[in-house]
């Protein structure tokens, strides 16, 4: 098993942290994993990418992911690379009817409901991460443990948002 996943978000939405939490969850489940943010001019609101690899063997490559198996879109207006089989998208599946698997949830609503807002921007990472964990078939307990491990004392709201997202994400 070797999965390449790309996260597309905007600076400040928590995409980089999400990649790391999912990598930690996969590690706790016994896999090898790698999370790799892409850095450029750091700017709130600008398009940001983060890569995630999960494998049952040691992961050696460190090149950017150009054709992911799974694309996670924090905003349906963001562009993605290559031709992913699976798209996980915030809010609506309508734009992705050509994909074999499209999973969706209203991550913004979950974030706002749980008070995950920073400087006027909903932090979508926990909800998108929770949904992605479900779609990627990552274990719920491992996900919760990973969130607490990575966020420490600040984990509470994120745990709630991820929990809800894990339950409500739908695939078409």
């Amino acid at each position: 098993m070797f999965l390449e996943i790309s996260i597309y978000c905007r600076g400040g939405q928590g995409g980089v942290t999400t990649a790391r939490i999912l990598a930690a969850a996969a590690m706790l489940q016994g896999y090898f994993s790698q999370s790799m943010p892409q850095f450029g001019p750091e700017r709130r609101g600008a398009e940001v990418k983060a890569f995630l690899r999960i494998s049952d063997k040691e992961i050696r490559r460190k090149c950017p992911i150009t054709d992911p198996d799974v694309a996670i879109l924090f905003d349906h207006k963001l562009r993605y690379d290559g031709d992913p089989d699976t798209v996980i998208v915030n809010y609506s599946s309508k734009l992705f009817e050509d994909k074999s698997k499209v999973c969706y949830l209203d991550a913004t609503e979950i974030a706002v409901k749980n008070g995950l807002i920073s400087a006027g921007w909903p932090i979508l990472g926990p909800a998108m991460g929770g949904a992605a964990a479900k779609v990627l078939d990552l274990d719920y307990e491992c996900l919760m443990k990973a969130i607490k491990m990575e966020l420490g004392e600040k984990a509470e709201k994120s745990v709630k948002a991820a929990d809800e997202a894990y339950r409500v994400v739908k695939c078409a």
């Binding site: 790391r20 999370s35 850095f39 050696r60 090149c63 990552l138």
Partner: protein, 366 residues
């Protein structure tokens, strides 16, 4: 995916760490007396992590905040002279600014460990990874080790303290900027006990002695000769106890070999596996150290050699020139300068052309 039992895939010792964090964890185990550093991307998370450890009293070290990298190396030189175990870290322009003091560190034969998150040096401005800063250390008399992944960044940093204090030569541990420094991977964080500090001499208050006073005539040349000889001879200890100067991957029956160092080696190995599946007898020699340079291993390479470089000297890559200096003719691919990181597919097609005899003497993968 199948859940494996109780979410303890980490089994207590596996941690998800970037290479920066892995270096910091290893430094914590070495318990340095003095850490001095100035922040610079992409190295900063190493010393940020260490300063947090000092602040929380998890690590009993003196963290000296300095106003420049020149001073950071000055502080660790001073502390090491008095017998303190020391650590610093830098990158790119920081290393350039520190450069003069790096000569003093080596010439003074002081055990010092430095991490280098290898990054391009401007102009033009760039924050991403390559080995242009790393190769500027070649002529100083430092031992230069280059990690492939976060696990090795951890292991090499621990070994660097042992090695440096054994041979009285400063050691740098290089990790690739961003593709390693900021990439989190699964690391086995083993607990190790590092023996107490040892070094050839210490200078303490009250001692009537001058360090590095003017050395004319044969004195300066003797010091330089001793350093060069001891640096070469450190290869023995590295081969015997510290994992060796090179890693050989699928080289046993190889007719073609790719020489490479750093994180890119992992991508090259994946490309080599693709060619192996097609029946091509190709392997990888990964340089774990570039000082001392693994001359013996390089001389035993098969006749068809491709060197992949992330730093150039003229049109040729630096490692290509080093390999040629061992009497081994080679083709050269310069790649990944300033973070223009090749994909495995791109590497595969270059390797394929190399095997088919279609690669030019030197090519830049732009």
């Amino acid at each position: 995916m199948q859940a494996k039992s109780d979410c303890d895939g980490a089994r207590g010792v596996r941690k998800l760490l970037t290479s920066n964090e892995a270096v910091a964890e290893a430094v914590k185990l070495a318990k340095p007396d003095v850490i001095a550093a100035y922040p610079i991307t992409p190295q900063s998370p190493i010393v940020e992590k260490l300063s947090e450890m000092v602040e929380s009293e998890e690590l009993d070290s003196r963290f000296v905040r300095v106003e420049s990298e020149h001073s950071a190396m000055g502080v660790v030189i001073g502390a090491a002279t008095a017998g303190a175990r020391v650590f610093t870290a830098t990158s790119s322009h920081g290393l350039a600014y520190m450069y003069e003091m790096c000569w003093w560190a080596a010439g003074s034969r002081l055990p010092i460990v430095m991490a280098l998150a290898a990054r391009s040096i401007g102009a033009p401005w760039n924050i991403h990874g390559d080995h242009l800063d790393l190769v500027s250390l070649r002529d100083l008399g430092w031992i230069i080790s280059v990690a492939e992944n976060a696990q090795e960044a951890f292991d090499m940093t621990i070994n660097a303290f042992l090695l440096s204090e054994e041979v009285n030569i400063p050691v740098v541990v290089a990790i690739d900027g961003f593709t390693m420094s900021h990439t989190a991977e699964v690391v086995n964080v083993r607990q190790v006990e590092i023996p107490p500090r040892k070094q050839a001499y210490r200078i303490l208050p009250g001692m009537e002695v001058a360090l590095n006073a003017v050395a004319f005539g044969e004195a300066r040349m003797l010091a330089r000769f001793d350093l060069a000889r001891d640096l070469e001879e450190s290869a023995g200890l590295i081969e015997e106890k510290l994992g060796g100067l090179v890693e050989e991957y699928r080289l046993e029956d190889a007719e073609y070999a790719v020489v490479v160092t750093g994180g890119l080696s992992g991508d090259v190995k994946d490309a080599v596996d693709m060619l192996r599946e097609e029946g091509v007898k190709i392997g990888v020699m990964r340089l774990r150290f570039i000082r001392p340079f693994p001359k013996k291993a390089v001389k035993e390479l098969p006749s068809q050699v491709l060197v992949v470089d992330r730093a150039n000297t003229d049109l040729r890559g630096v490692l290509s020139v080093e390999v040629a200096a061992c009497g081994v003719e080679n083709k050269n691919l310069v790649a990944g300068i300033g973070g223009k990181y090749p994909t495995v597919d791109e590497l595969y097609s270059c390797l394929k052309r190399f095997v088919d005899g279609k690669l030019s003497d030197v090519e830049w993968l732009i």
